[in-house]
């Protein structure tokens, strides 16, 4: 079975800084995979490389049987890879509905604006935003903006969804709701990669965790094993945390 996404020896530097260093891993269809690591480890850069925002300096990125590391971001989006931004990027003066319609109309492949709006309404209902459909996107709370980001991405009909710190800035209740949403998305057959600092989410939702440190992949294992990995503990988790959450992980 071909992996859905394959990175082979991918590297990227910015001037003197090596942001991503010789990273290789695979994502298989239907998985929910976590990507963790300290700030500055290169997580967002990795997402940018996969989605075509940056070009890899070395290595290959394969999506199914097609090599995508040389494609521009809009073409990659049309092939079914979607991402959310850490700092949300809405179309501020357009309504919530119009924002999501944009996703459906272009990468989502819906031919007319009217049909795209209908599809968009479905996605808004799925993410719990339908009551805000006619509000301008800039008027939303942070939690709702994150949902809007998610709805936009879903509208593009992705097979692979990269969520970049979707839970940053949310309180406990909001995080639980987000967790449910993520599981619901996975049930639709979409492969998800979660970049997260909120360990509760990583441990509860993912079946596999990748750990990035100084641009290098230092672990690629189940959440349980990762929280017990001494390298990961030293680089990121800290021993107190590891002891506390060790019991939570499967």
């Amino acid at each position: 079975m071909t992996a859905m996404l394959r990175l082979i020896n991918v590297s990227r530097r910015f001037g003197g800084l090596i942001a991503v260093n010789n990273v290789s891993f695979e994502l298989r269809a239907g998985e929910i995979v976590g990507l963790i690591g300290p700030n500055g480890a290169g997580k967002t850069t990795l997402v940018n490389l996969i989605t075509g925002v940056h070009r890899a300096g070395a290595g290959e990125i394969w999506y199914g049987s097609e090599r995508i590391d040389r494609l521009p971001p809009d073409r990659i989006a049309r092939r079914g890879i979607a991402r959310t931004f850490q700092v949300v990027q809405p179309f501020p003066l357009m309504t919530v509905l119009e924002n999501v319609t944009g996703g459906a109309l272009f990468a989502g492949g819906v031919p007319t604006i009217r049909a795209a709006k209908e599809k968009a309404m479905e996605h808004l209902t799925f993410t719990g935003l339908s009551h805000l459909a006619e509000r301008p996107a800039s008027a939303l709370t942070l939690a709702n903006r994150k949902r809007l980001e998610l709805a936009k991405s879903l509208a593009t009909n992705p097979r692979l969804l990269l969520l970049d710190e979707v839970n940053a800035g949310l309180n406990a209740a909001e995080i639980d709701a987000a967790l449910d949403l993520i599981r619901a998305i996975a049930e639709r057959g979409i492969t998800i990669m979660l970049i997260e600092h909120v360990m509760k989410v990583v441990l509860k939702a993912t079946s596999r965790v990748l750990v990035l440190h100084h641009g290098e992949l230092i672990a690629d294992d189940t959440p349980g094993n990762v929280t017990r990995d001494p390298r990961v503990i030293e680089a990121y988790l800290g021993s107190k945390f590891a002891a506390r959450y060790g019991s939570l992980a499967p």
């Binding site: 989605t51 809009d74 989006a77 501020p92 003066l93 319609t101 272009f106």
Partner: protein, 311 residues
């Protein structure tokens, strides 16, 4: 109600030559030209949000392309169409070259193109007459017939510009351009090929001024580089659209009408202070009416406008 009004206006416009004298007809022809220029600019400046100052370049190029063709014997309407086509091709190439720039850099590049074209036209004396200008073949029609002819020509150009604007505003292209204007990086991530969309908008913003330039050249029979590449031809359409509402369908038309009224009623008498008065109007417009005259209370249309508030 609106439809009845629109129909009435259309009827008046078509019947105008039978009702008006030559002076009024001339004013109306100018108004139609201004509308076409403003509507043209709106594609790139309003819908896509890219501050283009290239209108003068396209107008001048259209004027000269059509004018030169006519001096070589090409019949007038064909020359207008060919002139428009030449401008469109030029805009496509120029767009590919400069639309990756944003903000100020794009504005400067678009501004400077007119200057470069003007200098080139000035130097190509054999072809264009250089600084001494170009004389176009005179038509064998009487004054009134000519006034009507050019009126209808500009009417067709303006109507085509308006129809295209309405079409684009409600279709995929317009939606995509709006996304680009709101947040270009997000637009790319949603699968929009932004360069292609921007180039289309740029070409649309060129072809109408280009055709108008051709018609204008035939209308006035004599053009020179300083006249048709004048930077004010880039600034005035922007002012008109700012007045009438950026990124809307009718904004260019309302602004053009208003601008022309001001120009005819107030300005004509102050020839010495023409530029200065335009400057004052621009300053007042920018400082006090940033959303144009339609800014007050039209909430839905407001949202479709360029984000003018500070982020």
């Amino acid at each position: 109600m609106m439809r009845v009004l629109a129909f009435a206006v259309a009827v008046v416009l078509v019947m105008l030559p039978a009702l008006a004298d030559n002076y009024l007809l001339r004013v109306a022809t100018t108004m139609l030209m201004y509308s076409a220029l403003a509507l043209g600019w709106n594609f790139i400046g309003g819908f896509a949000g890219y501050p283009s100052f290239a209108t003068a370049a396209f107008f001048g190029l259209g004027a000269y392309a059509s004018g030169v063709l006519q001096t070589k014997g090409v019949p007038m309407p064909a020359a207008w169409a060919l002139g428009g086509a030449i401008v469109a091709v030029f805009a496509a190439a120029l767009g590919r070259a400069i639309l990756h720039l944003r903000g100020h850099y794009f504005a400067i590049a678009s501004l400077v193109v007119a200057e470069v074209l003007r200098e080139i036209t000035n130097s190509a004396t054999d072809l264009t007459g250089g600084g001494m200008g170009l004389n176009l073949p005179v038509l064998s029609l009487d004054v009134t017939a000519q006034a009507r002819l050019f009126y209808y020509a500009m009417l067709v150009a303006a109507a085509a510009a308006l129809a295209t604007t309405a079409l684009v505003a409600h279709n995929r292209l317009g939606f995509g351009l709006r996304c680009i204007q709101q947040n270009e990086d997000a637009a790319i991530m949603l699968g929009i090929n932004t360069l292609r969309y921007k180039v289309v908008a740029f070409v649309l913003s060129a072809v109408f001024p280009g055709v108008c330039g051709g018609i204008y050249a035939s209308w006035v029979n004599y053009i020179d580089p300083t006249d048709v590449y004048d930077v004010l031809l880039s600034v005035k359409p922007i002012v008109m659209v700012l007045l009438g509402g950026v990124g809307t369908v009718m904004g260019g038309v309302y602004g053009a009408v208003l601008f022309l009224l001001m120009e005819e009623l107030v300005w004509r008498n102050l020839l010495q202070f023409h530029a200065g008065l335009l400057g004052i109007i621009v300053v007042c417009l920018v400082l006090f009416l940033p959303h144009g005259l339609r800014g007050a209370g039209w909430a839905k249309l407001w949202r479709r406008r360029t984000g003018e508030a500070a982020p």
